[in-house]
């Protein structure tokens, strides 16, 4: 009975701490790493920020696949710089995540063991040069819609990382659209290549904005913590509304027979998304799930002796410094 009483007091205290915490976020104050936070807030943030970081570095691979084959020197340096930015963004996000008390190595372990998720779209293959255009245009386009609201999310380090990411990413989508534009102004073969890329990337790009609202589990809590400002369906509608006119300018056809502008709503109506495909890819049955993870894992495992060498060297130097001081 006595213990029960103590527990009640603790629960009461916890509840009031949480209320103060939630009120702080509601007032648009930021939460910093050393501030008190509910365990659930910490865990949710570790999950979301690390997923985001993993998506950046796995996302390097499908585009990296075309660096050595880029068709001009200008395209090659632009693509290299873009993929390099993604490494940088992964790095900023891992760092933000590390402020919550988890190491980059632990986060990598989660990725390599398949425990952690990353954006499913990177499990699709890049088959032609036009795919590099389509990824920049559609995938980065969808990512920007997701990311811009995160610049004002409640967790300080995440918000600051996102400000940097969004600033740097502004060239990525333009880079992709310019590639598409060049193809669409080119030969019939190039136009066909562009259309083929749109056909293959359109639906995965729509899926990238997440399951429909009634299937999405974390939305309400995420809204409160400003991890989300709009629902998945709202974001998807926004993406379609802004992307369809861009496809029109290219003279490409969006591969959706049901796509039609609705004068009453002021939005595009669109066809059914194949969610079965989405969940299959999430579960690991996409064309490239295995390659992507093994590429990341190989890079890390093959780098172990390099990282160890640098640490050993640093230790030896530090010892030398101590001896010299004596």
């Amino acid at each position: 009975m006595k213990n029960q009483g103590k527990k009640n007091v603790r629960d009461e205290q916890m509840k009031s701490l949480e209320e103060i915490f939630e009120a702080k976020i509601a007032r648009d104050e930021k939460i910093e790493p050393k501030d008190w936070m509910p365990e659930k807030y910490r865990k949710t943030h570790i999950r979301q920020i690390s997923q985001h970081a993993h998506s950046e570095i796995v996302g390097m691979l499908p585009e990296g696949n075309w660096i050595t084959r880029a068709p001009s020197l200008r395209r090659k340096v632009a693509l290299l710089a873009k993929v390099q930015d993604e490494a940088g963004h992964g790095l900023y996000l891992y760092s933000a995540c590390e402020t919550l008390g988890i190491s980059r190595e632990e986060l990598y372990d989660q990725l390599h063991s398949g425990k952690a998720k990353y954006s499913s779209i990177f499990n699709y293959p890049t088959l032609t040069w036009a795919d590099i255009g389509a990824i920049g245009w559609l995938v980065d386009g969808a990512a920007i819609i997701n990311q811009v609201p995160l610049c004002s999310t409640s967790f300080g380090p995440y918000a600051r990382a996102m400000v940097r990411v969004c600033k740097e990413e502004s060239f990525h989508q333009r880079q992709g659209y310019e590639i598409m534009m060049t193809l669409c102004n080119g030969t019939q073969e190039q136009k066909d290549m562009a259309q083929d890329a749109l056909d293959r990337w359109w639906w995965p790009a729509l899926m990238m904005l997440g399951p429909t609202d009634d299937e999405s589990t974390h939305t309400e809590q995420s809204m409160k913590w400003k991890l989300k400002r709009k629902t998945n369906d709202e974001l998807r509608q926004q993406f379609i509304d802004q992307t369809v006119p861009q496809a029109d300018i290219l003279g490409l056809k969006v591969p959706d027979e049901d796509l039609k502008y609705n004068n009453e709503t002021g939005h595009y109506d669109f066809g059914e998304i194949d969610w079965e495909e989405f969940w299959q890819v999430v579960k690991g049955h996409g064309m490239c799930n295995k390659e992507r993870i093994s590429a990341r894992k190989n890079a890390w495992d093959n780098g172990e002796w390099v990282r160890d060498a640098a640490v050993a060297y640093a230790d030896k130097q530090a010892e030398k410094d101590v001896k010299e001081a004596v």
């Binding site: 050393k34 390099q84 790095l91 190491s103 172990e304 990282r307 640098a310 640490v311 640093a314």
Partner: protein, 95 residues
């Protein structure tokens, strides 16, 4: 996993002369030299800086937010440290 991981460093960058170094972010590096080089490659790719400091994160002693009451609130009622505390006639100049 590596036997010993690269430690974490905090990166401070001066954007241009005349401005202070500002915290830009962090990174992992085996030693101070490499941390500086990595900071150059990670944080100044778009000409963001003219000077970089790196400090190993474990060497930073941070105040505890739980102590914020005693640390920072006592300064709140010392309005006499601010110029607006002092009442002067409106038409006085150069003050």
């Amino acid at each position: 996993m590596s036997k010993k991981n690269w430690p974490l460093w905090e990166v401070f960058v001066r954007s241009k002369n005349g401005l202070e170094h500002r915290h830009f972010g962090s990174l992992h590096a085996p030693d101070a030299d490499m941390a500086l080089k990595n900071a150059r490659d990670v944080y100044t790719r778009r000409s963001e800086g003219v000077s970089i400091w790196v400090v190993e994160s474990k060497n930073i002693k941070a105040s505890n937010p739980d102590d914020n009451g005693e640390m920072f609130e006592p300064a709140a009622d010392k309005a006499y440290r601010h110029p607006t505390f002092y009442e002067l006639p409106d038409d006085i100049e150069h003050m």
